[in-house]
Each structure stands twice: as C-alpha cells, then as structure tokens.
C-alpha cells in the first residue's frame, strides 16, 4: 500500500489550498419534481406504511418510499442505495433526520415496484437491507450514537442495542399501529449525543462507578485544575499520592459525591469510568419534541438500571416491549407516550408497564428536583 497524494504538499500547506467553501448547495440534488414544486406543496398522504405521496399545487405528485437503515454502514451499502436510486429515481435519494433513506418517484406504480425491490434485498445472514416503513403512527428508526464502535466514554454499545430493539419492534416499523408516532433514541453516555432527552423512549448508557485514578500518569496527561473544575459535584480535589515510593501530584475523589457523569474523564484521560459491572443502561420515557397538542417534554427516568447484556441485551428488549405494548393498548389516538403517562398518572404508568418504581427514580439533583415531587392529594391508589 503506497501513499498516494491527492495534491497536498505538507511543506507548503497553503499552496492551492481551498477552505471555507461550505457544503454543496442543496438544490443541486433536488429531483426535478421537487425542484419544480418547492414551496408549492398542497398536502400529503401516507399511502401505506413507508410510502408517502405529496401533492403539489401544479397537480404533480411525488411518491416517497422510506426505508430503515443501520446508520453505521459501509460504502458498499451506500453504493447499493445508489444502485436503487439510479434504477428507480433518476439517481436522487435523501436521508431523513432520523437516518432513514428516502427514494422518490413520480407515480404509484413505480413506487410499488420500488418498495418490492427494497423489501427483497437482504444480507446473506437474513436481515433486511432496506425494510420499508418508518412513517406515521408507527415506530421509526432509532437515533443513536457511537458506542463501543468509536467513542472513548460509552457505557454501552449503540449499534448493538439499537439492532436488538429494532429487531424486537420490527413489525411496528412497517405498520401504523401506535396511537401516535413513537420515537426512540439512544445515547451511549451522559453526553447524550443522541439528544435522547426529549424522546418517547430513550436508551441511555450510564456508568455507576466513580473514576479510577491513574495516579502515576495523571499529572503528565492532565491539567489538574481543569479536572478539578470539571466536576459538577465538587467531588474532585488536588492531592498528592505515593506511587512506588515517589510522591506525585494527582487528585482525590470523594466517591460518595460522584454521580458518574464522566465530565472529569472528558477533561482527563487518567480518570476512566468504564466497568463491566458498573456500566449499563438507563431507560427514560415520555419525552417529545413536537408542539402538537402539548408542549415539548423531557423524557423521565423510568428504569434506573439495566445491566449490559451483550450481544442481545434481552432485558432491554423486554423492558422496551413492555412499555410499547402498554402504550399501544392503553393510549388514545394522537396521544404521545408522555401525554398518556401524564393523563393516567405516573403511578399507573409503572403499573401498566410492569415496571418497578424505586427511590432512584426520584429526583434529587439540585433545586428543580423539588418540583417533581408530589405536592397534591391528586394521586391514584
């Protein structure tokens, strides 16, 4: 493997350099029907799960077939998407904000053929490549993060947990069975790159052990004051330790103050938190983003801990199924999960979902915690 230069000359980095050009302009990639009717759409219709039709003032129609995809994918996979797009869509394709792929055509017949083609493509081991679905009051793709595939702070894997949950809920991806859209998100640590904090159901990687201190190297690898300042709980202070008879500058941590947020580790590699037994998942529920009927809401912690059970996290899959089933059977049409939980009361939510309530679910973080406690006799037995 010989190094092939594209043109860059390390000796003269500024030579021929192009910077600050931004992305390609979006309208280069509009399918003609989109370019023509932009801003002039009249209404839409979901023909069947995974298939949308938008009608323009001009009378034009665009049919969109949406497919689920593993967000972590190879160039080979993307090229196969290109193949399909070229076969049916004049080479146009788009991704949604939740990592689904959308193929657009101009008539229903082509859309149906496209759908059949997409549903037929499978990996050798049997999983779908491009399952059609993800629309309407169903369960769409899970927004997620890196996990053990690429990040340094995860408390779990992202792609794996998402795969098992989507396997569990697969039939709901291709259906409109829910009372309202149900959105699941996954983030592998508290940094919440998946921004799971406003999801109907959120899967969150969580540590439960305070950092191990790598005293011997800490002072070389970290700025001690930054590590100290990083801790929101004031649990870290500078200290000196004896290592192999040598006194080194390091830090000390008041473990009982630690809430395992990992912010210290973000600032200092000598404070790792990962641990097979300590790490696992928190399940949150009841968040939403849309303003439809009710305001956006934060997700609430409903399961304090599920251990990491790779490769198929059976407890996770079971818990999510329980929540989804309770919601599906009990909520009203148009009612998002969090709205349902508030209507029936969280005491009923736990009962109906078969989840245990524990003291861990009671907020004890800073002043706003108070406002989540119950200051009314209005509760159910």
């Amino acid at each position: 493997m010989a190094f092939i230069s594209a043109g860059y000359n390390p000796a003269k980095p500024m030579e021929g350099r192009i910077t600050d050009i931004g992305p390609r302009k979006y309208d280069e990639f509009y399918p003609p029907v989109i370019a023509k009717n932009k801003g002039k759409w009249l209404y839409h219709e979901i023909i069947e799960p995974g298939m949308l039709m938008h009608k323009a003032e001009s009378g034009d129609e665009v049919y969109t077939v949406r497919v689920g995809a593993a967000r972590l994918c190879s160039v080979g996979y993307v090229r196969e998407i290109c193949d399909v797009a070229e076969k049916f869509c004049g080479g146009y394709v788009r991704w949604t904000t939740r990592n689904n792929v959308e193929f657009m055509v101009e008539d229903l017949e082509t859309a149906k053929a496209l759908k059949a083609d997409l549903n037929s493509r499978k990996f050798p081991a049997g999983s779908h490549k491009f399952p059609v679905g993800g629309t309407g009051a169903g369960i769409t793709n899970i927004v997620h993060t890196q996990g053990w595939v690429h990040c340094h702070t995860p408390a779990t894997d992202a792609s794996g947990t998402v795969k098992v949950v989507m396997d569990e809920l697969f039939e709901e991806f291709g259906a409109h069975n829910m009372p309202a859209p149900l959105r699941i998100a996954m983030a592998c640590c508290l940094n919440m790159c998946g921004a799971v904090h406003c999801s109907d159901i959120a899967i969150l990687g969580y540590h439960r052990k305070p950092p191990i201190i790598d005293h011997e190297y800490l002072d070389n690898l970290c700025e001690i004051p930054l590590a100290v300042a990083a801790c929101p709980m004031g649990a870290i202070r500078p200290s000196k330790t004896e290592i192999n008879g040598k006194t080194v500058n390091s830090v000390a941590i008041k473990n009982e103050r630690c809430m395992f947020c990992g912010n210290c580790y973000t600032m200092c590699p000598s404070l790792p938190l990962s641990d097979r037994d300590g790490d696992g998942l928190v399940i949150m529920a009841g968040g939403k983003i849309s303003n439809r009927i009710s305001n956006p809401k934060f997700s609430k912690v409903v399961v304090a801990f599920i251990p990491n059970e790779p490769p198929r996290w059976p407890t996770l899959a079971k818990v999510i199924r329980q929540i989804v089933e309770a919601y599906r059977t009990d909520a009203r049409k148009y009612e998002r999960l969090g709205v349902w939980a508030e209507r029936i009361g969280w005491e009923r939510f736990f009962e109906k979902c078969g989840l245990e309530f524990s003291e861990h679910l009671i907020d004890d973080f800073r002043d706003p915690a108070y406002y989540t406690w119950r200051q009314t006799t209005n509760f159910k037995w």
Binding site: P23, E28, I46, G160, Y334
Partner: protein, 437 residues
C-alpha cells in the same frame, strides 16, 4: 474467512433489522477481495479489526478506544475527531481510527454521482465505514489515519466542492428539516437558511473562538422534524401570524370519510370512523375551534399554531400566509446542570434573504457569550447564570409575556438602583432621626 472470531457479534446478524455486523463483514470481505484493485491507503483489514476490537468490547463490556487525540487539518480547529485503539497490537488496522465530519448538503438530498464520489474517496482513504448521518447532521466517516486527513480534505475541497463540518468549541454543522422542498407545512425555506448561515459563518464553523460548541437547527414548523428545540443552541422554528386557511369542502370530505385523517398515519389499526369533534375540536389545546356539523370555525387569535388540526386534516387546513419563525435559544444535553430545551427569545422574525434579522440575533448572542461565557459553558448555561433579563438586554429585545410559560412565583426581583426613586445611598443618621436605635 474472518480475521477474528466474533461469536458474540455474529448473534447480531440474526433478526430482521439491517445488521451492521453483516454489513461490516461484507465490507471486510470486499476489501480483502478488492475486485476494483483499489490501492487502499489505510490497512485493508480495518473492517476486520474493527469487528475484532468490537467483539472484545462485547466480551468485557468496556470500550477499547483511547481518550481523544488532537488531529485535524491545517488551519481548521474542527471537523476531525482523533481516535486511537487501546489494543493497537491486536488490532493494528484500527490503531488510528479518526473520524472525519463532512458537511452534508442541507436537507440531505443527494445525487448518486456525488454520493458515489464521496464513497470512492472514503473507500480509498478510509475504513469504508460511515454514519449516514451523525447526530448533528454531518456525513460521518469513521476511521482513517492521520496522514490521510489532509489528502481527504484536499480531494473534498478540490474535487467534490465540499467542506468539513464542525467539532470543538465552534459553530457546529447546521441542519434543517426538508421544509418547503417536500412539505406543505414549511413556513420558511429551512434548507436555504441553513445553507446561508453555514456559509455566512464559515469562520466560526472551522475556527474555535467560542466558549464551547454552538449549534443551529432549522425546523420549518412546530412539528419539529429536525428536533431543533431539543438539539440546538439556536433553534429557528417556522410559524405564521395570520389565520389558518380552511377549505370547508375538504373538511366535509374528512367528516364524510372520503379522506383519511392525519393522511393515513393510523392506517394499520381500526380506530373507528373519524370524529371531527373528538379528534380535532376537543383536542385543540386552546379550545379555539368549533364544528357545527357543516362548518369548522377557528378563533385564530386564540390559536397556538400547534399544528394538530392541520396535521389531522392536511387537505383541508393550511398554514397562514404571513409567515416567519420563532427563535429559541439554549438547548443542550444534560452535562452539567441538566438538559435544556431552547427558550423562546424572538416570538416572530421574518425569514427572508439575506436573513439579516436572524443574523442580527445570532451576532448579538455571540458577542455577549464570547465575552461572558466561561470555558465549556454552553450559551444556555450562560443564560441561566446571568438571567433571562440579560439575554433580552444584549439582544435589545423587549420583555413580553410570550417569553414565559408563567411569571415568576418568587418575588425576588433584582431591582436596579436607577429604577428606584431616591437611589440606594442613604444616610444612617437621617434614618436614625426617624428611627431611634
């Protein structure tokens, strides 16, 4: 044959949902076979080794990526995330495994010629593994070595007319819902505003000058399909000021069962006949609608523009014509003091090229935050620390009841000296003339 046995990961090949394991395995095989005779610029067994190191994580329940690593391209302070394996000997193919964030086209439409070129570049100079897309919105390319970074950047800029996205204490890659391109609800051109702002602020995107990261997201309407209110420091959400347009004939068609409610979004289940009173009028959060059996009336002054009625009867109801957007500031993930959603700062702003009204707000915010924000303090945290009043002051916006969900319940008003007659300086001896000790 696979380089590493992956009995645990293999179990993720089963089940109907697309298996990333199957995909990576296939990619590993393709690389090994190299049918197109590519002169791979990073180790051919990168995919194999990724599976191997991931299997190891599945075994021991811990990540095997080292902490951070500062790499990048000359003159940019972002766009690349350095990453090194903590078992480089066992998995040399992923010893260096940096991520490249490529700025996606606004709205994520692609043409395959462009997409194929992107993939070819990444096949050639990287792992061949991507995220389509990252949570912020970038095209995320997972895994390459340091020497490849400048080369990739060169090809991207010279041949693909494409730039890197953001990382670090920068403006991050903006993102938008598809908006007017294919949605009848869009109140402004989200894609264009996103594109415009990306270009306008290239310097902020590439060169860290902020206390911490800053994200723009653009939703065309209150449905929030790009989740801007939860995921962006600066969230622009389309809205309108005049009346919802009602096509009474179409309303009747819904009532008659000719059109499916909510465009068919509930089609798998039998929810019974559409009941406009129960499903629309009674669910309207402001109670501003009424239906007399033949006419739907909306008291638009009381409407929240929550979209419910429009979503439910898209063929009959349409957004108003006096369009613009609301601006929300400060959304962020929970570290350190808990998550925030964006708080309403500008109830209504016109959104028209050259978008000066929007940019003015942004720049006022930045001026203040760059002055006052602490290191690693998101703007939402600065607002909490200095108070919403400060935000109004620095943006020159007048306080409005729309800024609050409810007025304060504590009366701890920080009056300023100039607000109070007679000032604060008083003479204790004067006071003691009236009040003995």
């Amino acid at each position: 044959m696979a380089k590493h046995a992956t009995p645990l990961l293999d179990q993720l090949e089963t089940g109907p949902w697309p298996s990333f394991v199957s995909d990576i395995k296939q990619e590993a095989e393709r690389r090994k076979a190299n049918p197109d005779n590519i002169e791979y610029q990073i180790p051919v067994d990168v995919c194999d080794d990724l599976l191997g190191i991931l299997e190891m994580s599945y075994e021991d329940g811990e990540t095997h990526w080292k902490h951070g690593g500062i790499v990048g391209v000359f003159g940019y302070g972002g766009g690349v995330i350095g990453r090194y394996a903590d078992q480089p000997e066992r998995f040399p193919g992923v010893a260096h495994f940096h991520t490249v964030r490529v700025n996606q086209p606004s709205g994520k439409y692609y043409k395959t010629d462009y997409l194929r070129k992107l993939m070819d570049l990444w096949d050639f100079r990287g792992s061949g593994l991507t995220n389509m897309h990252g949570s912020t919105g970038d095209l995320v390319w997972l895994g390459t070595t340091t020497p490849q970074l400048e080369e990739i950047f060169w090809t991207l800029t010279h041949e693909l007319n494409t730039d890197l996205g953001g990382s670090g204490s920068n403006l991050r890659t903006p993102a938008a819902c598809l908006g007017q391109s294919r949605c009848e609800f869009a109140c402004y051109d989200t894609q264009d505003l996103s594109y415009h702002m990306t270009n306008e602020y290239q310097d902020e995107l590439h060169r860290p000058a902020f206390p911490y990261k800053f994200k723009f997201k653009f939703d065309g309407c209150p449905n929030g399909c790009v989740a801007s209110i939860a995921r962006s420091d600066f969230s622009v959400i389309g809205t309108w000021k005049d009346d919802i347009k009602v096509d009474q004939e179409a309303v009747k068609a819904y009532v008659a069962g000719e059109f499916r409610p909510n465009a068919g979004a509930h089609s798998t289940r039998d929810w019974g006949k559409f009941d406009i009173q129960k499903e629309v009028v009674d669910l309207c959060p402001t109670g501003c609608m009424s239906w007399d059996g033949s006419k739907l009336t909306i008291d638009n002054k009381e409407c929240y523009r929550c979209m419910h009625c429009i979503n439910t009867m898209p063929r009959a109801l349409h957004i108003g014509d006096e369009r613009g957007a609301s601006i929300f500031v400060g959304a962020k993930a929970p570290i350190l003091d808990g998550a925030q959603m964006g708080s309403l700062l500008v109830p209504f702003v016109p959104v028209e090229e050259p978008y000066d009204e929007v940019k003015e707000v942004v720049e006022n915010l930045w001026d203040w935050w760059m002055e006052e924000g602490k290191n690693r303090e998101r703007i939402g945290e600065t607002i909490k620390r200095q108070g919403f009043q400060k935000l109004l002051e620095v943006t020159g916006i007048k306080a409005d009841p729309r800024h609050v969900q409810e007025p304060r319940s504590n009366p701890y008003i920080f009056w300023k000296e100039e607000d109070v007659e007679g000032g604060w300086d008083r003479d204790i001896n004067e006071f003691r003339k009236r009040h003995q000790r």
